[in-house]
């Protein structure tokens, strides 16, 4: 049996992190967590994950900044990043995140809360 793929989950809300962890683990992944952008970078430096699920709105260092740092570093630039956002209303989320995505180098994005099957599909497709 192949070794489990490692997913790093970064969000400042511990309940949210816990919930997403359960979902991602149910997909057969090894999940590690961090609670802000800086902690996320530290976790990546410690052990390179195969994919990062990164919240946008976080204290200390937000998701966009962390994403830019990861993509700016040749060591980590290839790790796929899925940005999570709940900044705007659901109605406007698509346009907001679309513009965000154009400016960001992240591979993909999802609005919060994330539907389990959708998230697992997205993770799966980026790991292939």
């Amino acid at each position: 049996m192949a070794e489990k793929k490692k997913i790093l989950l970064v969000d400042d809300d511990p309940d949210f992190v816990e919930a997403v962890r359960v979902i991602v683990e149910s997909g057969g992944y090894d999940v590690r967590v961090a609670y802000d952008g800086q902690e996320g970078l530290d976790a990546v430096a410690e052990e390179k994950p195969d994919l990062i699920v990164l919240d946008v709105m976080m204290p200390v260092m937000n998701g966009h900044a962390a994403c830019a740092r990861l993509k700016g570093n040749p060591e980590t630039a290839k790790i796929p990043i899925i940005l999570l956002t709940a900044v705007a209303d659901r109605v406007t989320t698509s346009t907001y995140t679309h513009r965000d995505m154009l400016e960001s180098e992240a591979e993909d994005y999802m609005p919060k809360p994330v539907e389990p099957a959708e998230l697992l599909n997205l993770i799966k497709s980026w790991l292939q």
């Binding site: 309940d15 962890r21 149910s26 994330v114 389990p116």
Partner: protein, 502 residues
């Protein structure tokens, strides 16, 4: 003319009685004097409309009487009675202001005709006087309403600007200079575009005049001032319906706009504060579905617990929000009553003890030796003090200590709540009473709250004429001090003996 009073002055009794007889049936009141002096006495005593006087009299003659009347009672009509031999004297008398003359001997008819003429003249005079008074009153009224309009125009907060059909400024009030920041001097007599850089204002005036309809705009007049103006421009038409000019009012609505923006910001903030926890709850519901499917039961239980907590937090947040909005709008009625400080503090400690016990935190209480009372709304004050104590417990690591103490200084009491908690950084300290502000960081990550608790405390404390102070050292602890004016002790409510027995 009613009640005509006539005085006859003549030294000849025949004449006096002749006149009286001639006018007997007319219903006039007639008085008689036998010489000038007596005549003046009567004139001074009562009012007469007409005086018939002989010119040549012993003592004070008719000329003297005439002079006196012109001088003192000009409204009186004087008719001189004179012999034909002295017609020239009558002429002189007329020049001196006599109204008419009667030659001696006279017929009763002639007397009546002359008196009628005098009465006619008096009536006309009275009417003229009345008309003149009315006219004067009218002028006075016009003057007043004009000055009133002028005053209103000058004192209006709104700017008013009047142009002719060519857009030349013909009139404005002082507010126009201020609101539109006009620097052209003089402003009147020049095209509007020469004084107002902003095209919106100029265009709307032109538009209103060319279309002949009212135009309304909201705009920022310049880049320098951040004013927001609302303008109403109305064309002025003459009787033929031709546009002959425009009247524009400009209202500074910057303050409204700012309040509007604050309101939108607040709504956005509330929406975000409600949305984030709900998103987490929804995420946990998804996780429970997945967890139950994959039979990871230990996770299910933990998630259920967290969902319950977060939902309750959300409800509390909404409650707090409603309370805060009630407090701020001033619709909350405080039922103030003198309360023993010790009682309320001990109750708060009882309520928060389970929360502290759960974390192994001890709550101490060092009351000052003196008993004190303060005038408070019990429920609101208990909530406020509880928020402070419960916050201290929340932000103090397990096994820590929260100490309450009181001190009475002057007319005030200080309630001090000191903890051995994580403390608040200097950059966060000024914001802790802001709505929805929560210190974010590693240490506070797992502490939930609405960010409204302290905002509520501040409202309640200030509504009780108190004030709140906070001092904090990160990693060491935080001290909140609530100060309240003491209630006046009227001997009946707190017996001194009980104090000493304390």
């Amino acid at each position: 003319m009613n009640n005509v009073r006539i005085l006859v002055i003549d030294d000849e009794k025949v004449i006096r009685e002749g006149v009286e007889r001639a006018l007997a049936k007319r219903g006039y009141e007639i008085a008689k004097a036998e010489d000038g002096n007596r005549g003046l006495e009567l004139l001074k005593e009562m009012h007469f409309d007409i005086v018939l006087t002989d010119l040549m009299m012993p003592g004070l003659d008719g000329f003297a009487v005439l002079d006196w009347i012109r001088e003192n009672q000009p409204h009186v009509q004087v008719i001189v009675i004179t012999g034909f031999a002295t017609v020239t004297k009558a002429v002189t008398a007329m020049k001196q202001g006599a109204f008419d003359f009667v030659g001696k001997p006279f017929t009763p008819d002639y007397i009546r005709v002359v008196v009628d003429r005098a009465i006619d003249r008096l009536t006309m005079r009275a009417e003229t006087e009345k008309l003149r008074e009315e006219k004067n009153r009218g002028l006075e009224a016009i003057d007043k309403s004009q000055s009133r309009l002028k005053t209103v125009f000058s004192c209006m907060a709104e700017a008013v600007l009047i142009t002719d059909a060519e857009g030349i400024v013909v009139l404005h009030n002082p507010a126009a200079i201020k609101i539109l920041e006009i620097q052209t001097d003089p402003f009147i007599g020049k095209p509007l575009s020469a004084s107002i850089r902003d095209k919106t204002a100029v265009n709307m005036v032109n538009e209103a005049m060319s279309k002949g309809m009212v135009v309304t705009r909201e705009f920022v007049p310049g880049a320098i001032s951040r004013k927001f103006l609302r303008a109403y421009c109305s064309p002025v038409t003459n009787e033929q319906g031709m546009v002959i000019g425009s009247v524009t009012t400009f209202e500074d609505i910057s303050a409204h706009k700012q309040i509007d923006r604050m309101k939108s910001d607040f709504v956005a903030m509330v929406a975000h504060e409600l949305k984030s926890p709900l998103a987490s709850v929804e995420q946990m519901i998804y996780a429970v579905q997945v967890g139950c499917e994959y039979e990871v039961l230990n996770n299910c239980n933990a998630l259920h617990k967290r969902m319950t907590t977060r939902t309750k937090d959300l409800l509390r947040l909404i409650d707090n929000l409603l309370n805060l909005s009630k407090l701020e709008s001033g619709t909350v009625v405080f039922n103030l009553e003198p309360v023993r400080g010790d009682d309320i503090i001990r109750e708060v400690i009882d309520i928060t003890k389970p929360q502290a016990d759960g974390k192994g935190i001890t709550i101490g209480y060092h009351p000052c030796g003196e008993e004190w009372l303060f005038n408070i709304d019990y429920d609101h004050m208990r909530t406020a003090i509880m928020n402070i104590v419960s916050n201290s417990v929340k932000y103090t690591p397990d096994g820590g200590r929260v100490l309450l103490s009181t001190e009475v200084i002057g007319g005030f009491v200080n309630l001090i709540v000191q903890d051995t908690g994580i403390g608040i950084g200097a950059e966060d300290l000024p914001h802790i009473f802001d709505r929805f502000f929560r210190v974010k960081g590693k240490a506070t990550r797992h502490i939930t709250g609405s960010g409204l608790g302290l905002a509520l405390v501040k409202e309640v404390v200030e509504a009780h004429q108190g004030y709140i102070d906070v001092q904090s050292t990160p990693q060491v602890g935080t001290t909140f001090t609530l100060s309240f004016p003491l209630a006046q002790k009227n001997g009946a409510s707190i017996p001194e003996l009980q104090l000493n027995a304390g």
